[in-house]
Symmetry: C2
Subunit: 202 residues, 2 copies
Amino acid sequence: VTTAARGRRPGSPDTRAAILGAARALFATGGVSGTSVRAIAAKAGVDPALVHHYFGTKDDLFVAALALPVDPREVLGRVAEEGPDGAGERLVRTFLSVWDDPDLQLPLLALARSLLDPSGRELLRDGFLEVVLGPLGDALGIDEPELRMRLVASQVLGLIMMRYLLAAEPLASMPAEGIVAVYGPTLQRYLTGPLPQDVLPR
Amino acid sequence: VTTAARGRRPGSPDTRAAILGAARALFATGGVSGTSVRAIAAKAGVDPALVHHYFGTKDDLFVAALALPVDPREVLGRVAEEGPDGAGERLVRTFLSVWDDPDLQLPLLALARSLLDPSGRELLRDGFLEVVLGPLGDALGIDEPELRMRLVASQVLGLIMMRYLLAAEPLASMPAEGIVAVYGPTLQRYLTGPLPQDVLPR
């Protein structure tokens, strides 16, 4: 948000809440790509310019609607800064620094549960994978970023399931360094390893 | 079930349905290890011997209660027969031969959805991981079978999420051989690769 906005209150709480509520409802049914800021504004009964003024871009509004304890794009942006070498291990370490934090774990678990819920799957596929993981793949400058980030997502989702949602031992109480040692090389191979060229889509 | 049982009808449909219903309810709340055949029989209003007569062991009853289109223990048993070498690739190939089969996919998706549901998580953790994956780890004769099979489960669960439940492209329509090429080495490393000894539990 611009300097002009900083000087005043960040909008009426009612207006902000109405926009977030409309965004959550429309993102959940139409996904992020299938939902326009204009439609969200109409549902909230406000001018589209006000949506941009309060929340920035549509992607920003999506992340705000998730009500995450941290902005995953910022956290993942730091992983990308050092380039693709060692990014697998850094990604696991960064992921754990957020998920293993007791203050952050409850809201993250609530989000994970809602994304795994049938009604949240559009948000997970069309929102989280595109808005959050998409930019990481681009920032790392890897080939086939879409496929590679989905391979990464397939392992991270399973890790979230086992370690946090199911709390399946011995993964649930394994020290972070053990998780890094096990999953770092997997993510590194997905990010920069060879891909089966002859069966790639397209 | 014994030869004696083969000659007659497999029990009254009402009795079988009552046992399966009682088993599903008790497994879902107490898990497999926390549920006795005696408790299931009591809830169904039958003699425990009848439960064993119709369904075999408690593990057999658990698999019957899942109402799967195939017995996963048989399918996975064939993976174990050839030993740990190449088991990662064979496991992915076997998994896909079942999950990519259009006749089997709908019931499997229904099961996956119910296991991912909060009320099904006890079944997934305490039932599926123990009853189905546990024996595979033992049959393969690998060290740390519990940890290794949970690593395998963490990747397979994420693959199920991405390819089947979310149908996220390009994973959803990637040919089976591509999935084998990408995930086979991951599962092989989880089954037989080095483990971070200094951070292992115990």
